[in-house]
Amino acid sequence: MTPENQVRFDPASTVDFVIVGSGSAGGILAKELSTAGFDVVVLEQGPFRTAADFTHDEIAVAFLHELLGGGPEIHQQTFRDDESQVAVVPGRVQPAEYVQGVGGSSVHFTGNFWRFRDVDFRERSLLGPIDGTTFADWPIDYAELEPYYTRVDWEIGVSGSPGPFDPPRSKPFPMPPMPVKSSGVLLERGANKLGLHAQPAPLAILSQPFNDRPPCINCGYCMGFGCEVGAKSSTLAAMIPLALASGHCEIRPECAVFRLETGANGKIGNVVYYDPDGKETSQKARAVVLAANGVETPRLLLNSASPRYPDGLANSSGFVGRNLMLNAHALANGVFEHTLNDYKGVQVTRIIHDFYDSDPARGFYGGGGLDARPLFSATPIFFALAGTPTDGPSWGAGYKQTLAHNFSRQMSILCSTTSLALDRNNITIDPTHKDKWGRPSLRMTYKDHPDDLAMAGFLLDKAMELFDAAGAEKAWAYPIGGTTGGAHLLGTCRMGDDPQTSVVDRYHRSHDISNLFICDGSSFVTSGRGQPTMTIMALAFRAAEHIARAAKANEV
């Protein structure tokens, strides 16, 4: 429910900023720009939920896609492996998964908050080119972003303690890590035996009271669910209240933007959207910040094509929608003699970063991390549908016995890897499908680079070694298949100094349109090692600073 007492702006008047999207980046940009005194309207296509709206209802959340605003039949996203195919609407889960609602996907994320490291920003220079890819360096480095990572720690709320491979930090974590779970203990046990280094997981979940928010109560419903107490550090919990309190920010939920209109000067003057009643309306603004996520942002730019910009807005490079990176994954499960009860508490309490750096000795590019988590054994339906051993029964008395025995004794090791940027992996506009608002749907084209899958396989072998070393009674790995979708939506409006090969500059301003800023996962140049949200938030703090400076100097 939208707060009744928030400031209201007349759509016909010109506000300083319209921000499209209220998630990991949009929520921070809204808070930063409004508390700096700018008048801000945030257009969010989903509803304004509060902590009281979130439940443990697995049917509604995990299977009716309540937080996502519905499933594939609603959004009509399409998918294909390569451009030779006709993309289709998948029957099970949609290709790009993200929350529709205030706070965006920071509402349902698991909260793994790994910082990028220096290598993530300049790996192209360190390793050289990779044929067939658009592998590139970022225009900024870790040192440039470090102060903003620290702001995320202290203003969003991150728990943790330093690990042996962590990049330098200017300030300690604001609070200790969450209590270790049995899955974390067993990962650490395996790592100790193999000479690896398990470290406490940095999490965007509060281990102590912080900034007038309560600590985690270990309910176990983090992954995919909204936090009922506000201990998960979503922008809904940490930023939106501050933005509203500024008196300069209006959140307009259930408003679906479908076009950005440019004026005679080539600048964006109008943001056009469907209001909650489905009525077409618009908001004038001095400048527009797109923070709609790594698939919705390029979709909107492409859907805003006009005679002046026939290939879509901000797309003189042709890079809008290109270089989509989803992070590859691999997964193994293990069952132990005693109870873990891993359905209690946060998902992840220990991670391993020994394989973060790419190592030429492996024969392929890539790096990644491993983490211990319940995954399937966090929630009953998910576990019963897909969590039992792949070589065991899937119905009958034996199946039932396995469910009863394994649920409290089972854990997963999840492997997350780099994705190489490839022109062939992209977001375009589907020529036939439309979403429930009638907006042309996004079409995802994606096929992992062979090195991404090789890295996933390398980590999967390590996961099985870890289970063996930790004393698992049984362990099994899932075959590594091609990625057909994901929640890490990266790279589709990459930042760079060269307007020929990037969409925004190092300060997130469009190379083509001076009053358009883009800041979300689309800004990424490389994918990192599988946990991007910490970096999306750090980029948002940094972008807000530069955007505010430009606006104050009347340079938007």
Binding site: L64, G71, I74, G91, L340, G345
Partner: protein, 201 residues
């Protein structure tokens, strides 16, 4: 099997999405619709009311299949959990779009029974060994995948959806109802760790 109405778009096996299965009309109605549905599902199950959607004969068949997927053993199974009530209510709401296909699937499923056991009218007439033998021949069909999914959702979903009577599904897994808060230690190994035992056992 393999008939068009039973395509994978409508029937899923494994870890698929409920929304893809059901067309999610309640989602469009919003959360209040879900709440109303849940309340009526509970009332119907607990009071033993008549089925709202399924006829008695087809309900007996769906329940018989569910009862072999999660059988009654030393602990309650699908029958005791009231899974059929979940199915009945869902066929009138969140699985409404699948009712026709499910009925077609059931008819084809039953024709296989009649072919294999001349004289037996329907699946629920078979004894448990016969039922299991027949289900083994159906494991790869979309229809079986759908009934398995609905059985699991009805057995382990919140009881407000009509199944999981007295939380028997959660109790099977070791969950005593739906707690909302826990504190460490959570399990055997972290309890050891908290006691300071060396982590290399």
């Amino acid at each position: 099997m393999g008939s068009e109405p039973l395509s994978r778009r409508h029937f899923l096996a494994g870890s698929g999405s409920f929304a893809a299965l059901v067309g999610s009309p309640l989602l469009r109605a919003g959360l209040p619709g879900l709440v109303a549905f849940s309340a009526s599902a509970c009332t119907a199950r607990d009071e033993g009311a008549a089925f709202e959607v399924l006829g008695a004969a087809e309900a007996r068949e769906f329940e018989a299949i569910a009862a072999r997927i999660l059988p009654t053993t030393d602990t309650p199974g699908a029958r005791e959990a009231g899974v059929i009530w979940f199915m009945d209510k869902s066929f009138g709401s969140i699985m409404k779009d699948n009712l026709e296909s499910a009925r077609e699937g059931l008819a084809e499923f039953q024709s296989g029974v009649a072919a294999a056991w001349p004289g037996a009218k329907v699946f629920s007439d078979l004894d448990e060994n016969e039922q299991d033998r027949y289900l083994q021949t159906q494991e790869e069909t979309d229809f079986f995948g759908f009934v398995r999914f609905a059985t699991i959702a009805g057995f382990f979903g919140m009881s407000s959806y009509g199944g999981n009577r007295d939380n028997v599904g959660w109790k099977l897994l070791g969950l005593d109802g739906q707690h909302h808060a826990w504190q460490a230690p959570f399990g055997h190994y972290d309890a050891e760790y908290m006691r300071g035992e060396q982590n290399d056992a």
